[in-house]
């Protein structure tokens, strides 16, 4: 069951404020559960035989699984309805057994449309430090 989550207050979201969470190790079950949830049934993400025939060593995570993990760190940090924009760039695949280390940092505080907003840069890296995705977000924290 879900636990309660406390969001960072505006005063805590200063430039340079950081948040980090680690997800994983990834399993094929994670890929299949996410396929059911988001509908991405590209066989490269659950069928090893197909993935090998496509030239990959094994099946690998949907990019939006890691993208969703970064969405999680952001929404559980600044508040779930606070995001105004969110952009994800995919770099490298994540494989079964990989860790997904998500890091986010406030890079700017500003005002727009009558709201106090923060600009956040985020990245997910694997256990070897290789970049899986880079992300950028803007948010209007409530607190």
């Amino acid at each position: 069951m879900a636990q309660s989550v406390s969001y960072a207050k505006w005063d805590e979201l200063t430039e340079g404020a950081e948040r980090e969470i680690t997800m994983g190790p990834l399993t094929r079950t994670d890929f299949v559960r996410f396929a059911g949830a988001n509908g991405d049934f590209n066989p490269n993400h659950h069928d090893d035989t197909y993935a090998v025939s496509s030239g990959f060593p094994t099946s690998f995570a949907q990019g939006m699984l890691q993208g969703g993990y970064v969405g999680k760190i952001l929404s559980e940090w600044v508040g779930p309805g606070a995001l105004r924009t969110f952009r994800i760039r995919f770099s490298t695949q994540a494989w079964p057994g990989d860790m997904v280390i998500c890091k986010a940092m406030v890079v700017r505080r500003y005002e727009e449309d009558g709201e106090r907003r923060v600009e956040i840069e985020a990245e997910a890296v694997n256990q070897d430090g290789a970049s899986l995705i880079k992300a950028h977000a803007t948010a209007a924290p409530r607190g």
Binding site: N38, T85, F86
Partner: protein, 156 residues
């Protein structure tokens, strides 16, 4: 394949996107979200939402694969050379269970670029504007797909 300049004018059929409580919970669980606003209606209402709040990456621009709303099969791109390069969202209104959205896919850009390891890469950007039953804009999603010069593995 060669770039087809007519794709930018093509219209794809409008589709419906119904936001259901069970699907929100399933999606939130698949991403390890812990926030009760995605699971517990009372908690969502206490936080000021009409119903369970959808996680930030919940909307889908098309149903994989070969859906009639998916422009890609009509463009002749090779699925084995296709990568998801980028995904972008703009949030205009909270997305909660019970809402019924309408979306239409539009190809907003289609361009060729020289790959770093030689060969041509094609970048196509598909934009979906999701509106609610009152016609108000809720979200804009933009998906960048890349067709690599060679199958993805060989270009790694």
């Amino acid at each position: 394949m060669p770039l087809d300049p007519t794709v930018l004018e093509r219209e794809f059929p409008e589709f419906e996107f119904n936001v259901e409580r069970g699907k929100i919970r399933e999606f939130a669980m698949a991403l390890g979200l812990k926030d009760p606003v995605h699971f517990d209606v009372e908690a969502a209402r206490a936080a000021g939402y009409d119903d369970l709040l959808a996680p930030p990456t919940f909307t889908r621009q098309f149903w994989h694969e070969n859906d009639e709303n998916d422009p890609m099969p009509h463009l002749g791109y090779d699925p084995k050379r296709r990568l998801h390069g980028e995904q972008e969202f703009e949030y205009h209104k909270p997305l909660v269970a019970g809402m019924s959205l309408r979306g239409r896919n539009v190809i907003v850009s289609n361009r060729e670029k020289e790959g770093r390891r030689g060969g041509k890469m094609i970048f196509v950007v598909i934009e979906t504007r999701f509106v609610d039953e009152g016609g108000e804009l809720v979200q804009v999603a933009r998906r960048t797909l890349i067709e690599t010069a060679a199958p993805p593995k060989e270009s790694e």
